[in-house]
């Protein structure tokens, strides 16, 4: 593995115009200035709640959506605005797995035809013939190669997702964008597919951009994690950084909101009030400030930059990041501090906690 990134994203943005009749009345800033790298063989998780822009980002990466601004470099080539013809050779190296295993497979095509399609479209003639290659792929993802002639409806949800994975692997890609690949599946099947993706990632040395709302799944799959909120990355770091030493208040709140089977009863959680604001009119300054218990005047006026800490692997966009002492391991040391008080319940987030904020950051 070289240090040269396979995927280099800089200032990536996607703004959708909102129209009423013929007039454009606003802009939805779905994704607003993302910077990140993915190295060969690395798995990056993009996590966040609905509307944070993670799916839009995934679609721009595989060029299903045209970015408004910024750049995407793949394997040293700028593909930000590459046309169909330029993209063709790239498509082999850059694939996507979709969320819905029902909608993403053509019901009128046999599994064999579905998995063979990328080979045929790209005019690839594998040494042993297309059928042999397809059967090899089916076997690789744990399906019976003899089911080559069956139709998608004859398979369960988990098996369909495997078909989608086989199709994505057909061209031996270097990078796979997986958009919520397991969230439509039953719990017991979800684990099967996560394990399969892990095995493939290790065996084939694939790089992944893994988009998910489930932080526990991401923890089991990704080496690096980027947390998104309203179109921006608020924190990015190695898995251990994000899960054990989260520095952004939103990352902490997100982690503490997840009900964990190993903890019975009401947990000492950080409660965020309200919903995510609309990306049509995001809050000024730091976009998280309307729900943040640490917000102060500066948060409304100045947008915090994504600043690297601890030698550069972890970066946090916050004016008042957590100190390193804070941990979210089973008994959250710092969580009680904020979870408790009326702090988080107070609608205009802020004032009351100032004392605590100082306590933490000093």
């Amino acid at each position: 593995m070289t240090d040269e990134p396979l995927l280099r994203v800089r200032g990536l943005s996607k703004h959708f115009p909102v129209r009423q009749g013929l007039r454009a009345t606003g802009l939805v800033r779905a994704v607003d200035g993302l910077d990140f790298d993915v190295r060969p063989g690395e798995t990056l998780g993009l996590v966040g709640e609905s509307g944070c822009g993670k799916t839009t980002t995934g679609r721009m990466l595989v060029r299903l959506l045209e970015p408004t601004s910024g750049s995407i470099e793949f394997d040293g080539r700028d593909i930000t605005h590459a046309g169909r013809r330029e993209l063709r050779p790239l498509r082999q190296e850059l694939q996507i797995i979709f969320q819905d295993p029902y909608a993403s497979l053509n019901p009128r095509h046999t599994v064999g035809r579905i998995v063979a399609m990328p080979l045929q479209v790209n005019g690839i003639k594998p040494p042993g013939g297309i059928k042999a290659r397809v059967q090899e792929l089916l076997e690789l993802v744990g399906l019976n190669p003899e089911h080559y002639n069956r139709y998608p409806h004859e398979f369960s949800g988990g098996q369909r997702q495997r078909i989608g994975i086989a199709r994505a692997l057909a061209l031996r890609p270097k990078l796979i964008v997986a958009d919520e690949p397991v969230s439509a599946l039953d719990v017991s099947i979800q684990a099967q597919v996560v394990n399969l993706l892990r095995d493939l990632q290790r065996e084939l040395g694939l790089a992944f951009v893994f988009i998910a709302h489930d932080l526990a799944v991401v923890r089991h799959f990704c080496q690096r994690v980027a947390v998104m909120y309203l179109g921006r990355i608020v924190e990015i770091g190695d898995r251990a950084d994000i899960y054990e030493r989260p520095q952004h208040p939103y990352t902490r709140a997100l982690l503490s909101a997840i009900p964990d089977v190993t903890q019975l009863g009401p947990a000492g959680r950080i409660r965020l009030t309200g919903d995510v604001p609309t990306p049509l009119d995001p809050p000024s300054g730091c976009r998280f400030r309307t729900r943040c218990w640490k917000a102060q005047d500066i948060c409304a006026t100045e947008e915090p930059a994504l600043v690297p800490r601890d030698g550069g692997r972890q970066a946090t966009a916050c004016h008042f990041p957590e100190g390193e002492a804070v941990s979210t391991s089973p008994e959250p040391a710092g969580a009680g501090l904020v979870a408790d008080a009326a702090v988080v319940a107070a609608e205009p987030a802020g004032r009351g906690v100032q004392a605590n904020v100082e306590e933490v950051s000093s």
Partner: protein, 368 residues
């Protein structure tokens, strides 16, 4: 151990199967040997096949299961929402002492909304898009309070919106569902279901469509409201984490039957059924070794039209062979499993289960 041997007597397994729970007498809802069958073109579907449980006021029962386990069908049967032309329901469902099975539509309708109410997974499709949120809540009130004036109903609806934490309730009353965010819509649904003070609330995956931070808010709200109104709650979910957080008792369903039942401590901390083990070990956790593989349950959930013989879980069970041919021929009954009130439907003996649990399951670090 030779599996054809009868179980050694004196073991907890050998105590006779107990149909309902300890708290039976005080229970507001009692379900006894519920069976729900649908006649379809492809054959008879036994969606629920002999399920019993009870819920007292002030308590929460979590029903856990995957798709096709019968968990939602059970809740619809309690509410009397199945089409009687296509559905055969037998067994007993008693709500506040009244028998629901076999009750005329008109009478069930009187119970529904007043004594028992439901919160659905998707508030956007459960709320009517053409009417304002407030009007729908007020209407739910007036149906059961025919003497209430429009103004009284409006006031009641505004109070409920306020109670569930919707800011500016009087203004929100006149808005349409599409003007509410996902979390707010679910709050409005909860307001509507509670407008008549029902003693029994059935929540079918109430937070599955919501983001985690909003899910945490809604679960807190349900707990607060339960403390205030002392309602019995059935929470149907696939998320064991949610169950661990809010439920008092847990019922695990598989293929239309109850496979394990007990307090939340018993089921999540000392699970007895191999299916429950499997569920627990497939869930990725925020703690423990992130590099360890998850331990999934092999295979797929069964189709209800073509349920495996004997124990429906046997094709996916790692230990099916240990129970010998019985696992394929005999449906295991729910029996006492050690601790008081803990029931399991499994052919394995208590000793075998304890041994497998210690060796195989505790090792992977779930259910500490």
């Amino acid at each position: 151990m030779d599996s054809s041997e009868p179980l050694p007597s004196g073991e907890p397994d050998d105590r006779p199967a107990v149909p309902a729970q300890r708290s039976d007498q005080d229970a507001y809802l009692r379900v006894d040997d519920l069976r729900v069958r649908f006649d379809t073109e492809d054959g008879v579907v036994r969606a629920v096949d002999g399920v019993s449980f009870a819920v007292e006021r002030g308590h929460t029962l979590g029903i856990v299961g995957e798709s096709g386990s019968g968990k939602s069908v059970t809740s619809l049967a309690i509410l009397g929402l199945h089409d009687p032309k296509r559905t055969t329901i037998t067994g007993e469902i008693s709500v506040g002492g009244r028998q629901v099975v076999g009750l005329a539509d008109e009478e069930v309708r009187r119970l529904r909304g007043r004594d028992m109410a439901m919160i659905f997974q998707d508030p956007l499709s459960a709320l009517h898009p053409y009417y304002t949120v407030g009007r729908q809540i007020a209407e739910a009130y007036r149906v059961h309070h025919p003497k209430a004036s429009r103004r009284e109903a409006r006031q009641r609806a505004v109070d409920m919106l306020d109670r569930v934490g919707i800011p500016q309730p009087a203004r929100r009353f006149d808005q349409y569902p599409h003007e509410f965010s996902g979390g707010m819509r679910q709050r409005a649904m909860i307001a509507m279901s509670l407008v008549n003070d029902p003693a029994l609330l059935i929540a079918d995956e109430p937070t599955t469509a919501l983001d985690v931070t909003v899910q945490a808010q809604i679960l807190d709200l349900l707990a607060d409201l339960q403390a205030e109104f002392h309602s019995a709650i059935i929470l149907i979910t696939h998320d064991l984490g949610v169950v661990g957080q809010v439920a008092d008792d847990v019922l695990v369903m598989y293929g239309g039957r109850a496979v394990e039942r007990g307090s939340v401590e018993q089921v999540l901390r000392a699970p007895q059924h191999p299916y429950t083990w499997g569920l627990l070990s497939s869930v990725p956790s925020l703690h423990g070794d992130a590099d360890a593989d998850l331990v999934p349950i092999p295979g797929n959930p069964p189709s209800l039209i073509n349920l495996p013989s004997g124990c429906a879980f046997h094709p996916r069970c790692r230990y099916a062979d240990r129970a010998g041919s019985r696992s394929r021929t005999e449906v295991p009954e729910l029996r006492a499993a050690g601790a008081d009130g803990h029931l399991v439907a499994c052919h394995l003996s208590a000793d075998e289960r304890a041994a497998f649990y210690a060796e195989d399951i505790a090792r992977v670090g779930v259910a500490v």
